[in-house]
Symmetry: C2
Subunit: 320 residues, 2 copies
């Protein structure tokens, strides 16, 4: 494995031209495919790949129905600004079918991963001519993988491709020697906008990670609306991360003078440097009250709002 390129060693112009050449050399006259999530890693890979291959790179954006408000259209628009025509796969029904009736958080994550790899993106890769897969793996992802796993083999297996039967598949990971800060620096040099860097972290399973209990279109709609309110009010807070959690527990509320068991939204807003440890932000009380009032006003069915006041550890950033 090639060794780390530290932030100090990283010369972005050199790095970019080296990677473009590498991708060109590996793919040759063939075609490549990649999945764009809208996160920084897959965005940088998409830009490098298109600089190398132009339209011979197919970039797929999977709409899993678990995104934030306006998120997919913003991503498409941003890449369109770079002259890149991202293909959108509307797979919302597939994800919601896979999630139906599941309440266990691990099973939820597994259903989302399986649907993405095997069913949606895997199918797309298998049906395409492309034999080269571009991936935004970074060094930190490798650190987090248990040693000894044959990763390349694993990725294809996830995609439902048996590399021993179907020869010729190759994986290309241009960012594998970088960590997050390096990827940001390269992204900046490639012309990614400030908004892109300033976007707060969003988990892989999307809003599904913020719904306790079953994930369905209605409950995603509820947590999406609450997320919009929170991101709108806290965008200038300077916090590391802020999010809404929709609880499964019902609490008593009063609606038009009558008792009603309503839903509860939990707000989390974190101060953190690297997400490994975090403390709840000391938000002014009038902001907390504004958050609660606006969520009650704008999100139907919600009668109660809480603010998480635990540190990480023992809490985690996301709820599930």
């Amino acid at each position: 494995m090639r060794k780390e390129i530290t932030l100090k060693e990283l010369h972005t112009d050199n790095f970019i031209s080296e990677k473009i050449n590498e991708i060109k050399n590996i793919v040759g006259e063939g075609t490549a495919i990649n999945a764009l999530s809208g996160g920084i890693d897959s965005s940088v890979v998409t830009l490098l790949g298109h600089r190398a291959l132009g339209p011979r790179l197919r970039t797929i954006f999977v709409d899993n129905g678990l995104m934030r408000e306006g998120e997919s259209s913003e991503v498409i628009k941003m890449f369109s600004g770079f002259g890149i025509d991202v293909e959108v796969l509307d797979a919302r029904d597939k994800f919601f079918s896979a999630l139906k009736g599941i309440t266990n958080p691990e099973e939820k994550r597994e259903a989302i991963t399986q649907t993405f790899y095997k069913d949606v993106f895997g199918k797309c890769v298998r049906e395409s001519e492309a034999r080269h897969l571009l991936q935004g793996t970074i060094l930190t992802d490798i650190d987090e993988t248990v040693a000894g796993i044959k990763r390349q083999h694993n990725v294809f297996e996830q995609l439902g491709i048996d590399p021993e039967k179907t020869f010729g598949y190759k994986i290309i990971e241009p960012l594998i020697q970088l960590r997050k800060a390096g990827v940001r620096k390269v992204g900046e040099a490639l012309g990614l906008s400030r908004e892109m860097f300033e976007r707060i972290p969003f988990p892989g399973p999307g809003l599904a990670a913020r719904v306790i209990g079953e994930v369905n279109p209605e409950r995603i709609k509820t947590v999406r609306k609450a997320t919009s309110v929170i991101e709108r009010i806290l965008s200038s807070s300077g916090a590391f991360q802020y999010l809404a959690v929709l609880h499964e527990d019902r609490v008593t509320g009063i609606n038009a003078g009558r008792r009603e068991f309503g839903q509860q939204i939990e707000i989390r807003c974190w101060d953190s440097v690297d997400a490994r440890t975090a403390t709840p932000s000391n938000l002014p009380f009038n902001i907390l009250r504004e958050l609660a009032d606006k969520i009650i006003e704008e999100v139907p069915g919600v009668v109660s709002v809480t603010y998480n006041i635990t540190t990480k550890p023992p809490s985690t950033i996301e709820a599930i």
Copy 2:
């Protein structure tokens, strides 16, 4: 029905001696019985009854297992200071059996009410010689009762007594012309301690009203510990009411470096005059952080703590 005695009209010494005479006249040479919850109304009735009847009033304290830490022993001790020997009925098993498997809040309340009236206190009344029942009903309770209900008949029915079959039962309600402030004034004149008046409100179903999902001894133990921490830290806050809610939803936490689905405690602390409307107290952030840290530290299994930031309405004071 006799008319209200306003706070202005209330002359406590006259009121007390009138009520003592009334109780003496009604009970004559018989015996009476009453249930003491530890709340202000039943405490005042117990004191009036004992001033009138001495040991011919049997005062029963039902330990339902749903009380706060040390609550039953404090009540017993306080009345012992007045020379009153309160009988404790340990009915914890009966209440927990009745609550087993019930998650619907209305069914929970109903199970507690039924167990108290029919099973525990009702049985006690039926087996006793007493034909007079002292009750701490106040005018506000009557206002809240739907007009037209035959209350006396109802109380006996609740106790499993058919007044048409078993003649001679009488209900005595010495506080029926007063509201809360009047009861407090009478209590003070009877020598009830400041602590008694300053105790924050506690709901009828006890800690069961603060457990979302099934009520069992282990979960009551959890919410009781959290309640102790909150009452200790917020006792000088001047807030109208503060309480802990144990959620059924599990959230991810980190315990000794490993992911673990743990429990969440919600803190509610209200500013209010009469509980009809309320706003969350603007507690200093260091107090919120102290609350979270101490709950995590002292209550096993809890990995997450939130603070409710909703007003009433649309929220309610208690969670269920």
